[in-house]
Symmetry: C2
Subunit: 435 residues, 2 copies
């Protein structure tokens, strides 16, 4: 049985006392962006909590209390995992039914009134100021399926795929928090790939897709020129979020040779607002997909993953609140751990900074219902996907809302989850200057 | 004849009164990072100048004087080109021999003593906090030459090349200012590309290369979802720097399929410290390389480039101060203007922020001495390049120093240049944990 709180927490809430994730909020009564944690259907405003001596029982954080007045979690993230663990454990203790520190919050009605806010009254913001965003390609079932569609099963994976965590630098400026609408991008599309010469058309994307991913935020920086050993790499990670790396497939096909995806990816990437600490996910650690080649020593480590139950739900303008679950899979479906990704990313000396974001790559299982992109589900545009209310889709239509959720553990022990990573597709802008 | 200054300016200086670029300095007497401009062999400390009423003759800047107390130029950059122009013209006027405002600085001995510092006494720093760094591929002679080496002359350029400015997202964290040493990266290399199965080795890069580029810093942001029309795009640019986009060719060959270059590029990119304003380069505007395909309307604009005389010099550990010029070319050797790059980058709605950096791609001419990368000069490793003192190179050796310079105009009218973009190669780290 999980530890109970004196705050009401629905058993179905991903924010049980076993979680204690961190985010950035503003509220109807205060527009200041500030750190908070979430428990059930309430947040604890950590700025107010810190200012009013809420941390009086945790001496270790006293020299760093100003991190809770910051508008992002970057400085908190830099404090390192041991201190994050202490803050989490302390907050669990303060919020527990059987708290040994009732005077801090439970019985302090002034502080409760000031620092505890219903989720309905707050807005979440990007939790971190993101320096660089790197997107990996570690979802081997996705890489195989997509490679197979385009190059046939014999050449599905490139020769480098199992030797290194393939990745590309992506765009940090357009990472947005869950709830932000996503404008359908315009771009160059090759309508008839067989015609010669190849002449592209400018049009709104016709093959707008999702990519179900996990994101990891860096907390601990490494200096330029100093690689991070794989055994140390997990310590670099502050926490995890869900990610939808929206993708314009038709733009991608035309633009990506020879330097990789560009405008197909940089119009928006949505992340969930609450950063879940590695400590909270640790009970759900499991082995990822086994690599059947012997990797180089700098990448040798267990492929540690988390058994997060991932789900993608779609609503349409017509279906209203009736959602269709289009994907169910697990976070463990990755060939490389985030520690291996960090080790590879830094092996040449590249410096990571607090706030850097790493995407896992699209997470897919092996059966039809477990595919993390529509491209796989529709077999590169050959099949339609049935939705609630008899609607059909190949790719996303205007008005569609895609919501990713991810949760670990049981209701009995207390769920540890991310909340929602959600975005609705808006129609492309109509701007005459393009034409 | 160019306007003269009451400060001594050597006719060979790239920092004539016609220039007035902006950078970030610290000095032997003050470690604070702060804005400055450079004239001849002196800098004018703009923090001190602003604090002591140096801008009393320029009312338009008064509401924004705090930008000169910032540790980067980001906030100055956001003020927009008209105001940058006013500041530049004002500083020219204050510094001119025939200044109409002698009391501001020329005859104000206290302020001269406080604000004018010899170049030898200052250190330059990254001029901007870089949000995202995007590297284009607009040097068509480079793209043709490299494509021809790997795919033959008939398939040198990919079908998309003349229809869109090809680009990839690169790494912002590892952009460093001129003078920063560059550590040779380790990485995965396929020593025998013909052997099957393909098994990579971890080793220090053996094909370390340069890429001669121009960089443009964004000043004016656009909101997510709002493309920038090509006719407006030049206004988004704050100014220009020289760039050496160091490249690990052997890492690149193995890693870049299918998502583009990654560790081959993210270990270091060097930029020159002084941001040269578009206004200063305007007299040297010229037509770039003509595109022989009809581009889509959103990219239709003159291909405006600057006739910057670009030069790459190499010194080795053995040659000491004796440099060999390995490349001489012009900034006009690009197929796409920076305005076209911005228009393409934003066509899908991607937001640009002040401090974002765009690289032009490697700039090469068509003859042997005008190639902006060693890869082209050595014909993908087949030829050696002769250096001073009888040394030979294919790629860079430890201890080599590569210095890019770029200058416009004549000594008579006053040179407008960038100073140096320089870096020395350090040997790879020896770290047993890799092995």
């Amino acid at each position: 049985m999980g530890r109970r709180s004196w705050l009401p927490i629905a058993t179905s809430s991903p924010f049980s006392l076993a979680n204690i994730p961190f985010g950035i909020i503003s509220s109807t009564t205060s527009p200041v962006h500030r750190p908070a944690t979430v428990v059930g259907a309430h947040v604890l405003d950590l700025k107010v909590f810190a200012e009013r001596n809420g941390f009086s029982g945790l001496e270790a954080i006293h020299p760093h209390l100003d991190v809770f007045s910051a508008a992002t979690l970057n400085r908190f993230a830099q404090l390192g995992r041991p201190l994050h663990g202490k803050v989490r454990t302390y907050l669990q203790s303060v919020l527990a039914d059987d708290t040994p520190l009732p005077q801090i919050l439970r019985d302090n009605h002034d502080l409760r009134a000031a620092a505890i806010i219903p989720l309905a009254d707050i807005t979440t913001h990007l939790p971190m100021e993101i320096g660089d965003y790197t997107d990996f390609f570690a979802g081997i079932h996705h890489a195989s399926a997509v490679g197979s569609l385009f190059r046939g099963p014999a050449n599905a994976l490139q020769p480098n795929y199992k030797h290194l965590p393939v990745a590309y630098h992506s765009r940090a400026s357009s990472v947005v928090v869950s709830g932000t609408p996503v404008r359908r991008p315009w771009g160059q599309i090759l309508l008839d790939p067989t015609a010669e010469p190849k002449i592209p058309t400018l049009a709104p994307c016709r093959r707008l897709d999702i990519e179900l991913e996990l994101g990891a935020f860096i907390g601990k920086a490494n200096p330029l020129g100093q690689p991070v050993p794989v055994a140390e790499a997990e310590k670099a990670i502050f926490g995890y979020v869900l990610m939808n790396d929206w993708s314009a497939r038709d733009l991608q096909t035309w633009e990506y040779v020879p330097l990789g995806p560009f405008n197909a990816k940089n119009f928006a990437t949505t992340i969930s607002p609450w950063v879940v600490l590695p400590d909270a996910l640790e009970p759900f650690a499991t082995a990822g997909i086994e690599n059947d080649v012997e990797v180089l020593p700098y990448l040798r480590a267990e492929n540690k993953q988390y058994d997060i139950r991932l789900k993608v739900d779609m609503k349409t303008a017509k279906s209203g609140e009736e959602a269709t679950t289009v994907t169910e899979t697990s976070g463990k479906n990755l060939l490389w751990s985030f520690a291996q990704m960090v080790a590879h990313h830094t092996i040449g000396g590249c410096n990571m900074r607090a706030g850097d974001l790493l995407g896992s790559g699209t997470i897919s299982g092996t059966d039809d219902r477990s595919r993390g992109s529509l491209l796989e589900q529709n077999q590169a545009g050959r099949k339609t996907i049935g939705l609630a209310g008899g609607e059909e889709r190949k790719f996303l239509a205007d008005g569609d809302t895609v919501t990713i959720t991810g949760v670990c553990g049981s209701e009995e022990d207390g769920l540890v989850g991310f909340g929602e990573c959600s975005g609705q597709i808006l129609e492309a802008v109509e701007t005459p200057f393009f034409r």
